[in-house]
């Protein structure tokens, strides 16, 4: 059985937190550059130009792309043939977040209790989703989530009779309501099926799929493409000031569900859709 020490996980999390807050992944940068070339609204193009310049400054001067460096969401896929040695794995991940946010001069945006609201001052704890998978590797995905767009996310418990039209309406409703608050251009992560919580986690994980990569399921791919086209006809545009570039991608994940239900979660992310994956 392969052994992986928790120090290795801590180091990886630290490095990934710093990198992901300063450099947008290639798929997201490509979306922005394409949008700049194709946006017809003058204001929209001006804003996309500012966002391009912002990316250059962030990368070259090590200033976070956005001051909201998020609450850290972690997808940790642990191979069943791996033996984790050292400390508690959850502590190891949080220690990586703590170090990354201190050394990277990233904002500490987490409060210890939702009502009492005292800042933990180290951006911990992270929200960690564990999964046990075949193999002897550990895959770590770090996706710090800003809350301007998180606050505009929605979960709909539809009826089976609502069908795919109900799903489409749910997605469009969430995006329309989000409007300028979610810092468009957005990425829209959608979960369809499962249970209440499974659906929301699928929507979150959908945001970590590279923009432009589609579902392997035929009708889901078609739905992703149709939704992206329809969203980009809403004229919300960059910063919500009009234009064609309202979303860069709609990524949809699905799962079997109950005979009585059709859950749909719409997790909205701004154009600073940070995600980075490393395999150990």
């Amino acid at each position: 059985m392969r052994e992986i020490h928790t120090d290795t996980i801590t180091d990886a999390v630290e490095q990934m937190c710093i990198k992901v807050c300063h450099e947008l992944s290639d798929d997201m940068s490509a979306c922005l550059f394409d949008a700049y070339d194709n946006e017809s609204s003058e204001t929209g193009r001006k804003i996309l130009g500012q966002l391009k310049e912002n990316l250059d400054i962030a990368r070259s001067e090590m200033i976070p792309i956005c001051q909201d460096t998020g609450m850290v969401v972690v997808f940790l896929k642990v191979g069943q043939d791996v033996h984790i040695t050292g400390s508690d794995i959850t502590d190891a991940v949080n220690e990586g977040v703590r170090r990354g946010y201190a050394k990277g001069y990233l904002r500490k945006s987490v409060v210890s209790d939702p009502i009492e609201r005292i800042n933990t001052n180290d951006n911990t704890p992270a929200v960690i989703h564990y999964d046990i998978v075949p193999g002897d590797k550990v895959s770590i995905t770090i996706a710090p989530k800003g809350f301007g767009s998180e606050n505009m996310s929605r979960l709909f418990m539809l009826k089976p009779a609502d069908g795919i039209e109900g799903v489409k309406n749910a997605i469009i409703t969430a995006v329309k309501d989000a409007g300028p608050n979610a810092c468009p251009p957005m990425v829209v992560g959608v979960g369809i099926g499962g249970t209440f919580e499974k659906c929301a986690i699928m929507a979150k994980e959908a945001l970590t799929r590279p923009a432009g990569e589609h579902s392997a399921i035929g009708y889901v791919k078609d739905l992703e493409e149709e939704m992206l086209d329809r969203i980009n006809e809403l004229n919300i545009g960059p910063a919500g000031l009009g234009g064609r570039t309202t979303a860069f991608a709609v990524n949809i994940n699905t799962y079997p569900t109950h005979i009585a239900g059709l859950p749909v979660a719409v997790n909205i992310c701004c154009h600073v859709n940070r995600h980075i994956t490393r395999e150990i």
């Binding site: 200033i63 001051q67 904002r107 300028p180 810092c183 004229n235 919500g240 154009h271």
Partner: protein
Amino acid sequence: MDKHITVPFDRSVSEGLSAGDYVYLTGTVYVARDAAHKRMIEALDRGEDLPFDIKDQTIYYMGPSPARPGSIIGSAGPTTASRMDKYAPRLMDLGMTGMIGKGKRTQEVRDAMIRSGAVYFAAVGGAGALLSKCITGSKVIAYDDLGTEAVRKLEINDFPVIVVMDCRGGCLYN
């Protein structure tokens, strides 16, 4: 059209601004977001003064990332203004003439803007690195224990914003 404005400003200046104007702000603004607003309103409720005289001032809804050594400030873009909607009308009634943020506002806020002659500017969300280059001074003046949510006094130079809501009810968001 592009306009260059000095902050602070009184209502004679905000009355000359219209939704859609591109504005470059130079001067002093105050930074406050959720937790600082809650404390400021609680201070008013107790009959105490605000940490600064709000007459003719502009509040920037923002919580920066930490400054690296040798830098003035970290990333410093706007946060969603609607979370301050509960507090903003009272501050406008005390003379606040400007707000910088992003996103929609409530009707109560828009009514208060018309009543007090205030203007709401949007800065581009998610452009915090770029906007930090227009900040020439930053000092925490109150509620230091709130960390990124402390009240700051900022010096800004040609800080780019767009008037999204003016003091006559004009609004750029559709």
